[in-house]
Structures are given as C-alpha cells and as structure tokens.
C-alpha cells in the first residue's frame, strides 16, 4: 500500500486543506488514470525484461486493476494476489529470483516453437510445453529476479509526486 503524505509550505493547514479540496475530484480522476498506467507499465516491464519474450503471457494477463473501495476515498489495487497465484504461481520467483524451482528434471516435453530439443538456443526461442515431446533436462541455473513489483511501485510513487506537485502548484 502507498500512503500519501502532503505537507503545506506557506499556508496554514486549514487553508491548504480547503485549497486541496477544490482539486480533489481532479486528483481522483488523475490518480485513477495513473493506476491504470502503472498496470500497463508493469506488464510492459515484465514483457521487456523476461528472458524468454516469446513465452506465454499468463502473468501479464492476470495483472488487472481492481477498485476496492470508493466510499470516503478511492482505494485501488494492481494485481489480485489470490488470482495471480492461481493463474501464474511463478510470479514470486520472477520478481525475486532464486533456485527454488531448479535442480530437478522438468516433466517430459519439448520447446515450442523453434528447436524442440533443450539447448541454449531452444530456451530463448520457445516455451517448454509439457507432453509435447519426450525430452527433459535439469534446470540448474538460478532464475534472476526482474523486480517488476518494486520497479512499478517506483513508477507509481514518482508519478504521484509529479501529479500532486502539478495540482498544488496550480492552486492560487
């Protein structure tokens, strides 16, 4: 969760709150837009940073914006963990990296599309498809995390700061 703290400079807190209230709907509308842009940013970030760009998009598709509460404020979430866990349980390892999913034989299958037999080239061409062949291999190398959650949080925080600065600097 991101909590926003606004400090006033040059105005007493009550006058500042009144001025801020005058742009409250504009802020909510811009914030709503920003949350959707952050979701797009996160999906693009995953797409451009994952090792196999042609692999499936289960995780990207499962990341959606949800409005949690609109009474007395606006509360929105990007990505419902329960849903993502069901659809793309690898979301944690892709974010943080690790070897928890390595060191054992993967189920029989082949890489599709491209070269079906496991090799460096095949790994970058296709996606491992269980049941599509009789190949297997031991995943040995650690999976490097891409920190898409932390990076998207940075994007959101930096844009909220700009949004507030723009709105507040126009208050006169």
């Amino acid at each position: 969760m991101i909590t926003i703290q606004i400090q006033s400079y040059g105005l007493d807190p009550i006058s500042f709150a009144q001025k801020l209230q005058s742009v409250w709907f504009e802020f909510q509308s811009e914030a709503y837009d920003l949350v959707n842009r952050t979701r797009e940013y996160m999906v693009n970030y995953i797409n451009t940073h994952k090792v196999r760009p042609k692999s499936g998009s289960k995780l990207e598709d499962s990341i959606q914006v949800e409005t949690i509460n609109t009474i007395g404020g606006i509360e929105m979430g990007i990505g419902n963990i329960d849903k993502i866990q069901q659809i793309a349980p690898y979301w944690r390892i892709l974010n943080f990296g690790g070897v928890s999913n390595t060191g054992h034989y993967v189920p029989l299958g082949s890489f599709i599309p491209g070269e079906p037999k496991p090799s460096k080239q095949a790994f970058r061409q296709g996606q491992w498809t269980v049941g599509a062949g009789k190949f297997t291999f031991i995943a040995k190398r650690p999976i490097q995390g891409i920190h898409y959650i932390e990076d998207s949080t940075n994007f959101l925080e930096s844009n909220i700061k700009d949004l507030l600065n723009n709105l507040i600097s126009n208050l006169e």
Partner: protein, 164 residues
C-alpha cells in the same frame, strides 16, 4: 587497454567498495559482497548483493540540458539464518543512510576480465528513501535452497550529485 566505467558501474563499484570497507571497520567477518546474482549461489552465506538496474533522469532546471541521475539501487541480503539476516539488514541501512562517495573507475582489460588501475572521487550519492521487502517465495523455508531461505531486499532511491 585502459577504459573507464560509466555511471551505473561506477555507482555499483563505489557502493561495493564502501560496504566492504565499512564491514571491515565494524568487525564483520566472512561477509561476501557480490554484484552477480548467479554467483551468489556459489558463495558461502551471508552474501550482500548490489545491483543498479534502473536510473531515472530529470532536468536540473527548465531550459537546461543538465540532467540529474536518480539511480534505483537494490541491495539484497542473503543471510545465513534469520537473526543474521536481520542484523545485517539493520547494519546496511545504518551504514548507507547518509550516502557514500562516488568514484570514477579506470580499468585495464585483461584476459580474465578488467583490473581497476585507478579510482577518483568525483561526487556523492545521496540516499532519498529506503524500502524494505521480505523475500517470500511462497513455500516452506525448509524446502528451499539455503541461499533462498533468509533473504531481504532493500530498494534504495538515490540521487547522484555529480552532474555533467
């Protein structure tokens, strides 16, 4: 043939050197400081991993072409146990919260990589914010590789005060 690191690698190398010096000063023994994620798994715990994957840029002032660099630094602690992870994390935060010197590194290419031949202090990296995230891989810790059991990620928003 000599060459120079660019900003991102200068920040990485400056921070690695800074942490190594401070570890020694504060009496920590056998802590590995690394910048390659894959190599962490070949090292003995505990390990501190440093990465600078992203930098945000902003104009210093309207009409100027001078840009300010705001690197996002990831420091990941791979502890040998839960207590070690917490102690090391607190130590890292206390140690870097006031920032660190920024050096420009000159390197010489060699067969087994690059060797630092010179480093010049040219700036300072200010720390603006530190966010802590417990690395939870969603499975029972006892089933994980020992390197994945006790991990904490620090996301650091910084500003480099060296402008060109």
């Amino acid at each position: 043939m000599a060459g120079k690191y660019r900003h991102t690698r200068n920040i990485e190398a400056s921070l690695i050197d800074f942490i190594k010096i401070k570890l020694e000063e504060d009496g920590w023994k056998s802590i590995n400081v690394e910048k390659s994620f894959a190599r962490v798994y070949k090292l003995q715990l505990p390990v501190i991993l440093i990465k600078v994957p992203t930098t945000n840029y902003e104009k210093l002032e309207v009409g100027s072409n001078i840009i300010l660099r705001n690197p996002v630094i990831y420091i990941e602690i791979f502890g040998s146990d839960d207590g070690n992870k917490l102690d090391l994390k607190d130590w890292v935060i206390d140690t870097i919260k006031n920032g660190f010197d920024y050096y420009e590194y000159t390197i010489e290419k060699q067969e087994d990589g690059g060797k630092v031949t010179r480093k010049d202090k040219v700036g300072y990296v200010f720390i603006r914010r530190i966010t802590e995230t417990e690395v939870n891989l969603g499975v029972d810790k006892s089933s994980l590789d020992e390197h994945d059991r006790y991990r904490t990620l620090l996301t650091i928003n910084a500003t480099l005060n060296y402008i060109q």
